[in-house]
Symmetry: C2
Subunit: 213 residues, 2 copies
């Protein structure tokens, strides 16, 4: 999908039509101090793209059809696989202390917990801070005890829209989502972690969208 | 600024021109199995918006002018004041323990530290976890001792672009920026905190941009 920008004069025409519709091309030309002929290409673009509607013997009116401002259409073409990064994973038997060391060494906000290569849980910086404040012996307790456990983990898949990932992050108030693939152990469905999408990935994407490429 | 979407046929024309430029309107009409007359409105839009260039006696070529894909133009119209939220602020004499309690009660990732109503520092969840892991007596030590201190705090102002806030968050690897206003104590320039912009605010903005309003 391509997105094109309207010229300042086209913006001005839309503004005038919104204010005083219906308005004829003569009236528009007079307000803009140009000839009707000079306006013709702009009016052609604005009607052909469906932004304005030309009513015979009445004038131009602003169309209510949502054929513009379609930023959201562009956003929805971006997929999780386009923005995901590598997850930091530890085994469920790792002590809380060692898990926190992993968190710092990798400078991430969430650790994902595996058992035999399958995703079984997640622990955030916030969970660790809560534990570190309490009386728990973080050198003895395994991270598997304090983690949030499947099926209470919200996740996305590679082909999902990045928009969906951002929406789930906001709705479930988490910093990071695992990106998963379905796996089968015999007939039992399980999930493998193949990536992660966090608020950092969304912020990076936003910066990229705003770059003057 | 308005953004308009190209029709599927216009997209197809751009693709054909990119593949085989220069290409005449007869050749385009034949490839699309339509008449030249049927293509005229589309070609008019594509040339008037500067996406295609019509070279007399040669045909249409794809223009290298960056007059489309101007998502970044739209993004740069969004300001910090449009997305900022209320900062959680504590006095520098608050103990680390009480500060962490504040962090949890308000469910934020960063606390901002004030002295006499002026911003003097910031402490993140990561800083608190580091302290809680060490031997520090968090019931005695004031948060002012462990905070990151001005002038080492990156900030933005209300009228800055949200894009700039996102860029600073990524470049300085922080979760949250204070939004500040300049204040004067006698002749000394100081800053007051009036808001904050975090990765959460950027993610919320992204969700809003992707919403089917």
């Amino acid at each position: 999908m391509s997105i094109i920008k309207l010229s300042p004069r086209q913006e001005q025409i839309i503004k005038l039509v919104k204010e005083t519709e219906p308005i004829t091309s003569e009236q528009l030309a007079s307000k803009l101090s140009v000839t009707r002929a000079a306006l013709r290409p702009d009016l052609a673009i604005l009607t052909m793209t469906g932004i304005l509607e030309a009513k015979p013997k009445v004038g131009y009116v602003y169309s209510q059809r949502p054929s513009h401002s379609l930023i959201y259409d562009y956003i929805r073409t971006i997929k999780v696989k386009d923005i995901m990064s590598k997850p930091v994973v530890v085994d469920e038997n790792t002590t809380v202390y060692d898990a926190i060391v992993h968190l710092f060494l990798n400078d991430v906000g969430t650790l994902f917990i595996e058992n035999n290569g399958l995703l079984i849980g997640a622990v955030s910086r916030k969970d660790f801070l809560k534990i570190a404040m309490g009386g728990t012996d973080i050198h003895k307790v395994p991270v598997g005890i304090i983690m949030t456990r499947m099926p209470n983990i919200v996740f996305v898949e590679k082909e999902d829209a990045a928009y969906l990932a951002a929406l789930k992050i906001m709705e479930h108030e988490v910093d990071s989502l695992p990106v998963v693939e379905k796996a089968y152990i015999g007939t039992k469905e399980s999930i493998k972690i193949v990536g992660k999408v966090s608020k950092t990935n969304i912020t990076r994407l936003f910066v990229k969208m705003g770059e003057n490429s």
